[in-house]
Symmetry: T
Subunit: 72 residues, 12 copies
């Protein structure tokens, strides 16, 4: 963060059947369809569903930080 | 939550002169005018105003979870 | 907060090279370009960058409370 | 809160055999016997006792906000 | 709590389509089928599901306190 | 806690050069000079000063719970 | 803190249209009208109101620590 | 969570020399030997041991949510 | 914690009229009647009752960690 | 933060009789005498002493982030 | 804390087979071998190991506050 | 932890472009250049940077526990 920039933080939950990292990237990728200038993420919560006595999905709650775009 | 869905969490404060439940439903109902696919709520904070030495209103801060709509 | 109003809380980070107060006002001023009816703020986090062994910028994370506008 | 007012917050536990709302109002009503200018409450904790495998009483811990009265 | 008693705390989630209080009592009633000497509850979390833009169920996470029974 | 009683919680710091327990009892004993019906305490914080590389005093922050006395 | 002293902590909200520091001093100054031996403060929460898209007032919630006066 | 179901949450620590995910699955798999109807997990804490200046094991504290089985 | 072991954490409240340490040991001793392989404790909360303006009992809430026994 | 850098966080308390900002800069300036590559600060706690019913000093607890220097 | 002093806080875990107080003093005594000007401690966490169904050791996590020495 | 040992906890941020585990190991490996007897780590915070709408780096804040070495 530099200068007089302003940033917005938005909370989002990504899911994946495969891994924690993929859940993070799914959340970022989906958010990027409607939000520009994504700069950082913070993991807030990690949970998941169980099926057949194994972790069946990972659900990662993130805060995404995005630079408020002057021209927006 | 299932599959590879992504969810957004938005923070909202509902108020009611009548009850905690009505404050929750007022928040959800108002949010539903502009947000689709609302799936769950989490109560974050409960407070209210006092008049004539009684609870005059309930103010319930919620996080609303909504499924990110692919077509949005 | 009065009556049956609903409020939205949005998280934003204001920055300033000068002071904590200016960082708060930068965040509010920027948010006001796209959000109406801003009513209150809550300071969530205070941090900053260091340059030449002095605080070079203040970064203030706020929650902004805004009244949900019926006509919105 | 307006102007240069000062407010005091005091912590109180209201109880009721009937409902959460009545416990809140019992706390406010009792506090009002000795405190003036009560303006708002914040729910800090909610618990209760169990008898015959049912909730037998609700115990609601509140912070009460009261305007410091210049003439006090 | 008196004397040299020992207590166990167990975490349980009660649900109800009707009210917060019923969700609390459903949790206590279900727990009482397998646990004796339930003495108190503490509300840890309150959330719920949304259907048709209304609260469709309340999910109340409780800690239940029970007196450890010497003869158990 | 029973019936429709109301309780007040007040925060107090007891100190002792000897032990944690004495600090707790000093706080309770001092509070009892001006407050009646003290029923329970909750330890909020434990700290102390160091002198000659040993704990020189214990400072225990407590919340004291007292039954609001109808005749008070 | 020294010796066997006892301290009381009381929660108070100071407000100011000008600055955070003035809000702190307003709270202390008002409390000092009825409380003696104020020794320290801890900032618990910082918020404020917004008017014309600027911070219009600062509301600082403090805990004030005061030495319990033997002669009180 | 649907209907009037009740759920139990139990806290468990899984370990693995290999990865965070394996530690989660080890915890679930072990719990499944004595608990039925496991539905979800929440990660509470993540830590580990160090050997030869590398992470030698991962220790993941989970809350496991399981549906209380009427016939249990 | 070593290897691929799994551990369970259970929450328990020990009480004693004498000391904090005895309350901890009472909790462990009582739990040991029905639980094997207790390995560690974590103090979660410390409170107590007051009688005659002195601490009359200590109530210590612990989490007990126990190694899940393969043969259980 | 970029690349494979490692950062250390150290906790420090700056004080000032004048302002919060000066307390922050005093802490950074003092730390810089023995620590290199200071990059950011996070405010953890804000408190102060009271004299003559005014804030007499500000005590700001910070975490300082510094880049671990390969040649160190 | 007075004047323009700066303080460092360092986190340390003391252990003792005997008592909580001895664990605190062991931590302070060990830290004093390499750190000067220790002024206060804050207890962050209290835990311990269990052997033969009794508390076998106390592990107390402290923050130690020390005055930054100008000549250091 | 055994006997009368004392442990120090130090806070460090490891980064990696590849994975959470590598960020943990980078932190431990870097710390090991100047610190001996590292025994355990606790994950305090997980965040990262975003580039091209993907997680570009992981930043893991750890507390490292190390045994205070008598001969140090």
């Amino acid at each position: 963060m530099t200068g007089q920039n302003t940033y917005v933080k938005t909370e989002i939950v990504g899911t994946s059947d495969v891994s924690i990292s993929e859940a993070i990237n799914n959340a970022i990728g989906t958010a990027a369809r409607s939000l520009r200038n994504l700069e950082w993420f913070e993991v807030i919560e990690l949970r998941g569903s169980i099926r057949d006595n194994k972790a069946a999905s990972y659900q990662v709650t993130l805060k995404l930080g995005l630079r408020y775009d002057a021209g927006a």
